[in-house]
Structure formats: structure tokens, C-alpha cells
Symmetry: C2
Subunit: 335 residues, 2 copies
């Protein structure tokens, strides 16, 4: 069915996202929605833009809806907050029909359902490229009023990873090289985990929340660092350690057997250095954190995602498996 | 100066918007910012997109920054909340230099300063057209947990307008017809108030807050309707009255002497019906409200903006000066 008006689209959205929600005092349909405020509110915004963050050639509408929200939920979880709602600025091109928008909503709803998120509202407009700008929020324990943050590490702290890295970069690389619909199908069939990691990343928000509870129980909020690895470890670890200010680095170990078999299979084909490939790859939405060495055994047991000790904080540069990594990661504005 | 990296842009933003702010427990620079929660939080999102909502031909970067935020603050104020912060999803084209971004920031800062808003963070990306997606929030009194809303009117209620309508539509009409930079300068010189209304609309948030205080003092929150007139009275009044559900309408009176002289001057030149032009015009960000007749005298004194009684709620259609208005207003997706 063709879409004839904004009301058609809003009507469609209402089929997927209830107007009333326990997290809201007032739902969609007015100038503002009103959130129940139950403690400090962690808030984040991420844009998901066509031909910058995704291509329609290989992203289904479901994938677009899913990932545009998942990347935000990842940020909320990485602050230790319990995700509770979102507002969405949706720029469509006017060529999306009812089936497209429904599939998009299904993708967004899959993430909403996992965390019981409220869609509080948003805005709808039309332009030449799709642009989905989500602002998501969650609540923090009163005892952790600033959440789990970057830049709190001290020398000797453990640097850990929850989740895995490298798969999303592999998915992106392979899907970008797939030109025809048949190529895309083949890549998705041959490299299912890599493609899934790029198209539908799983935010590790429950693990972030578990770390927040752990921090409160151990009164360790100011000594536990956390962030999501959205731009790749090469770019994000210096942020986690606040290296520019602290001068901290680490000798990072990332063994081949810590990487997904699809990464190893691809590295074998191309001759790439698999750990370096994974270290530089972004968009995995794993969690990287720091904690005092003595907390690590109990802290690691609090996490559901597979964990890995990457190294320990020390003065100096960041090296990978004994070599200095070279790629600075991705920057939208560098030339 | 050319912009070489995201960090250049973030550095620029920090010159205009302090990272720490009394409304924030944690400022920009982490996965999430954290808001102090001091009562129910009203939240809204509005997209401001190039060639859909504005054109660079006649919007300065200052105007773009100003209006992208003002339209959101208007929504917060129209719910009766006190605006306190924003998050911005900023899609640039990569051709904006330091002067452009600074001017944009100045425009946004002008609105921030008026309400002491915190810029809690956001996201930055690059695409072929500018797209500024702002999510803004404010706090409501505990005694008004759902804010001031639409659809609460009863028969006989006063329908009022705070602020004026029609000027922004006139500004848009004239600026759209100005093709060269010289034309634009001439239009801005000849029609200063109309252009200002379109380029830098003033949100009436202090008036919205005054109405919220009035509602609390008079225990009248459930009987006072309020919304901002962003899409024009013709389209917004049925929303204010929830006409589709209630069957309410009104015989609206809008006299020529209630309109700005520039509107009358333009109507005289073109032979247009000035009140109909103003009634159908959008983007003025005036406030339209409803209240019981007996509250009106004291309520009108609570407002700083000029006010006008438009009519009284009754069963039936909405008419304007004895005639049925015809235009349905603007819809991005209608063809």
C-alpha cells in the first residue's frame, strides 16, 4: 500500500508501539510526552543515516529499524543504566510503502520488546535520504548518579572485553563488496555471523546493568570504567583510558583463538592479520571496561557475555600483541 | 578554517556550550550524559531538515541553529514544562567551515541562554543534506504530572491565542520567491517582521510555564488545554479540540486588526483574504489554548504575550469569520 499522509504513517506506528506505557506519565499525541522520573536519567543520541551508516542494498527495513535503536541502547547500557524509552526523528524519502514501514517497525520493536522500551514520540519528515535519529534514555541507580564512565582507570587495573570484536567489520567489508542482490544473498549465506553482527548488532545492555549493580554492591562506581566499543578498540581504548590526559596505555593481547571462526577463515583467505583486523574494527557494540585487579574475578562472574582480559593499564602507548597498532579508526570528517 | 575531523567540530561546540551544567549530573564526553531528575520530564523531538524545513539560500547558519532549537523549546513550553536541556543529532555535509559552524552554534546558544539549557550531547555525522534533529526536555511541577495537554476542552470553553499568527507564512512565501541574494536582501529589508518570524521564531515557553503555574494554583490542569500552533490554526485547532473524537468545533473570529501590519500590507497587494491567510499559516509558534470561561480573565493576566479570544467551543465544524475554512494545512507525505 502506498502511504498517502503523515497520519497513515502515525497510524502504522501505533500498531507496533502502544501509546500508553508504564514508563510514561503521558504518551504520544501531544506537544511532549512525559517520562516518569525514577532516578538519574542517562540519555544518548545516535544518528543512523543512509549511505553513511547503512545501505539499502543489503540492509532490510527490519535491519534498519533494529540497528538504529540497538546502537542507542548499547550506549545506555554502557553507562550502566536500565534502558527505558526512546524518541525518534524519522526522515523518510516518501518512497517507502506500508510493507517497508511495517518491516522497519518490526525491527525497532524487536529491540523495544527486549528491554520493554517506551516509544515516547518523535518527528516525521521527508528528504532525499533516510535518516533515523534516535534519542534513548534509561534510569540509573540513585547510588550511581553518574553511571559507569570512561577515564577512571588507574595503573595496574584490568582492561576487559565483554562480547567479541571484529565480526561487524568483516560483515561490512564483505557486504560492501557485494554488488548484486545475488552477491548479497551469497555473502549472507557464506558469512552469517559476520553479516548479522553488522546488520543486527546485539547491545549488551543487560551486562552493563549487571556491572552497575555490581558497582553499587561493591561501592566501586568510581573505580569501574565502561564504554561500548562502537568505533573499534583501536580508537575506543584510548578514550576508555583517557590516554591524552593520563598518558595511560597497555600491552593488549588479542589471541587468534579469541576471535570468531569467520574472522579467522577470512584472514586465511586474504592473508590479513586477524587480531589487528579485529582490533581496528568498529560497530561490534561489545563492552570494554577497567577495574581494579582484585575485583576482576567476582566482576567477571557477574557478566553473561563471554569475557576476555585484554591487558593491564600502564604508562605509555597502546600496543597490540607486541606491535604498535597503526589505524586511527573511522572519522566521518577526516579527508 | 576548514574542518579536518570530528574532534575539530566537537572542540568548536565546547567553546559555545559548557560540558558541565547545573541540570546535568554528567556532561558530554561519555556514552551517555546524566540528567538530574527533578520531577516529571517532558520530552519532544523535532527535525529541521535542509530543503524541507529551510533553505540555505535565505537561512543564515545562525538562523538554522536558532530555529532548530526554538521549535523544540516551543513544544516543551506548550506542555507547561520548564525547558532544561537538549541533545542534538547533527548531520552536516562536510562543506561547513569553522565560520559556518560557529555561526550555527551562536544561533543555538541564543536559545540556550534564554532558558539556561544544557547541551547534554548528541551525535555528528555526514550526508548530502543538512539535518538537525533536536530532542529537548523540561521539567514539570509534581502537581502537574502530565503537563498541559490537548483534547481537554468542554462546550462553552474559551479558545484563546497567545502570540500572533500569519507572519511566518508570509515570511516563507516571500523568501521562497526571492531567487537571488539581492532579492533575499530586499525581501528581508521590506518585510522584516515576516522574515524574522520565519527565520527566528520566538518560542513562548515562559508563557507556557506561566500557564502551568496558573493551572497548579487553580487546580485546573485537567481543564486547561494548550498546544503550540506549529502547523497553523486551521490544522492545529481540530487537534486542540480533539474534534475527530469530540465533534467539537467553534466559530472562530480573527479580525484584520488582530493581524500584523505586514500581513495586511501583503494582502492588499495580492488581494488575499488576510485572516484566512493567517489562519492557514504555520510555523508561528504561538500558543493556542482552551479554558473554562470563568478562568479566562485571570488566566489572560498571567500571560506576557498579547492574547486574543478566538471563540468558544461548541458542537459542529470550525468556521472562520462565518465561513468554513478550506485548507487542510501542510503534510510532508500527501501528494
Amino acid at each position: 500500500m502506498k502511504i498517502a499522509s503523515e497520519d497513515d504513517i502515525l497510524g502504522l506506528l501505533s500498531r507496533f508501539f502502544p501509546v500508553e506505557h508504564p514508563a510514561l506519565l503521558l504518551g504520544r499525541g501531544d506537544d511532549c510526552a512525559v517520562l516518569k522520573s525514577q532516578g538519574p536519567v542517562a540519555v544518548t543520541t545516535d544518528i543512523f543515516a543512509e549511505d553513511t551508516h547503512f545501505r539499502r542494498r543489503y540492509f532490510t527495513p527490519f535491519d534498519i529499524g533494529f540497528k538504529s535503536l540497538a546502537v542507542n541502547v548499547s550506549d545506555v547500557g554502557a553507562s550502566g543504566a536500565s534502558p527505558s524509552g526512546l524518541s525518534v526523528g524519522l526522515t523518510l524519502t516518501g518512497n517507502e510503502d506500508e510493507a517497508w514501514i511495517s518491516d522497519f517497525c518490526e525491527g525497532m520493536k524487536a529491540v523495544c520488546d527486549k528491554y520493554a522500551l517506551a516509544l515516547s514520540g518523535g518527528d516525521l519528515t521527508r528528504s532525499s535520504l533516510l535518516n533515523i535519529c534516535v534519542t534513548a534514555w534509561g534510569t540509573l541507580p540513585d547510588a550511581l548518579p553518574r553511571g559507569l564512565r570512561r577515564g577512571v582507570a588507574k595503573e595496574g587495573d584490568i582492561i576487559f572485553l565483554a562480547g567479541s570484536v571484529g565480526l561487524a567489520r568483516l560483515g561490512l567489508t564483505l557486504l560492501e563488496s557485494a554488488e548484486t542482490p545475488e552477491d548479497v544473498r551469497q555473502v549472507k549465506a557464506d558469512w552469517p555471523k559476520a553479516c548479522a553482527a553488522h546488520l543486527r548488532p546485539e547491545a549488551l545492555a543487560f551486562d552493563g546493568m549487571a556491572l552497575a549493580r555490581f558497582a553499587v554492591e561493591h561501592d566501586a562506581g568510581d573505580r569501574m570504567g565502561l564504554m561500548d566499543v562502537s568505533d573499534g578498540l583501536a580508537r575506543d581504548l584510548p578514550r576508555l583510558l583517557a590516554s591524552r590526559i593520563t598518558g595511560f596505555g597497555a600491552d593488549i593481547s588479542l589471541a587468534e583463538n579469541a576471535l570468531h571462526p569467520e574472522i579467522l577463515r577470512h584472514a586465511e583467505k586474504t592473508g590479513a592479520d586477524a587480531p589487528a583486523f579485529a582490533f581496528e574494527g568498529g560497530e561490534d557494540y561489545a563492552l570494554a571496561g577497567t577495574c581494579p585487579e582484585k575485583l576482576w574475578p567476582s566482576l567477571s562472574r557477574a557478566l553473561k557475555a563471554p569475557t576476555l582480559v585484554l591487558g593491564q593499564v600502564k604508562k605509555g602507548e597502546i600496543t597490540l600483541n607486541g606491535k604498535k597498532p597503526v589505524s586511527p579508526g573511522f572519522d566521518h570528517f577526516s579527508r
